[in-house]
């Protein structure tokens, strides 16, 4: 299977998956190297001694997850781009997956991309948390993706294709994207008022005249409610942008 498709089998993956307890504790390297090839930079780069010494250079690397602190040095050192770091302690619902990415253009930090599995199939939306590209990475940049926890052992690549339109700007004044709105909804913000206060969407110069409806639609879709059941946020005067001077002493403005 692996020889013909380049895609490791379920058994392959299971053999390198750390125990659940270890995964939930924090970042750990996942070495998806399944063929005996003469190669050892992962072993020589690991400062923690977490990769067992390769007696024969053809030996496959064996990781001790207890010694590994998930620093990620081995990611850029692996010429086969076969090493990843998974951090399931990132948040209650999300995991961080660090992926070697030797393509241009690099994704932008804070933007939304599509998480792909080992076969290149789209799996879920993912947010780019960080792009590490210093001298130490030696032209193998490491992209950190925030993915739903259940996909931490599935997402192994990314597509810049904005499959879910997450990078679409919803609030034009405060420049809040649809992806950010969806993120807040996932984190439990369930009303326009809450989303407005946490994100500033709707608090720019237009006062939500464009984005309120769009955010309400997104809330309705996420909660399964009808749009008419979603409450609008409070509208307070002034209804149009005015200067403080106009409130004080009037103005010649029509």
């Amino acid at each position: 299977m692996l020889e013909r498709t380049g895609v490791p089998t379920k058994e392959n993956i299971e053999s390198v998956t750390p125990l659940k307890e270890r995964l939930s504790k924090g970042p750990v390297a996942i070495i998806e190297c399944f063929q005996e090839i003469p190669c050892n930079p992962c072993y020589t780069s690991c400062k923690k001694g977490a990769i067992k010494e390769l007696i024969d250079i053809n030996d496959r690397p064996i990781l001790d997850p207890e010694k590994c602190n998930g620093c990620g040095v081995c990611i850029s050192n692996c010429p086969g781009l076969a090493i990843f770091v998974v951090d399931e302690s990132y948040s209650e619902t999300e995991a961080l997956v660090k992926i070697p990415y030797e393509f241009v253009p690099l994704p932008k930090e804070g933007s939304f991309v599509t998480g792909l599995d080992r076969e290149g199939k789209p799996v879920c939306r993912a947010k780019v948390e960080k792009v590490l590209n210093t001298k130490a990475q030696d032209r193998t940049p490491v992209v950190s993706l925030i993915v739903p926890k259940e996909f931490s052992m599935t997402v192994r690549f990314l597509s810049l294709n904005d499959h879910y339109s997450d990078n679409t700007i919803v609030c034009r004044c405060e420049e809040i994207t649809l992806g950010e709105i969806r993120e807040y909804i996932r984190r439990g913000y369930q009303s326009l008022e809450e989303i407005k206060r946490i994100s500033r969407a709707g608090m720019g110069p237009c006062q939500g005249r464009t984005c309120s409806q769009l955010i309400m639609q997104e809330l309705a879709a996420a909660t399964g409610k009808r749009l008419s059941e979603i409450k609008m946020s409070a509208f307070r005067p002034p209804a149009v942008p005015i200067k403080l001077g106009q409130l004080l002493g009037g103005d010649d403005h029509e």
Binding site: I169, R172, E175, G204, P205, C206, R209, T210, P241
Partner: protein, 101 residues
Amino acid sequence: MRIEQHPIITFNKGRKVQFTFDGKVYEGYEGEPIAAALHDAGIRVLGHTHKLGRPRGFYCAIGNCSSCLMVVNGKPNVRVCVEKLKEGMAVETQIGRGDIK
């Protein structure tokens, strides 16, 4: 581009006046929205956003969306889609939220 014929609206054009946009002289009709004169002159970018620097242009055209905020005669945050053009106005591109001088 300027709409000359419209099935419902009749245009009562004022006299031709000159104004400046970022220092260059342009012509428009007195009393029309500043944005209309700029649009006629082919100017599509009216300002840039404060966070990402994206260009913002003419959008709702009725004073709602604040997409067309510009600096007019030194005053920032003027909605040029509802502000009427006067002779000799100095219109400038606004970057971000505008500075009060």
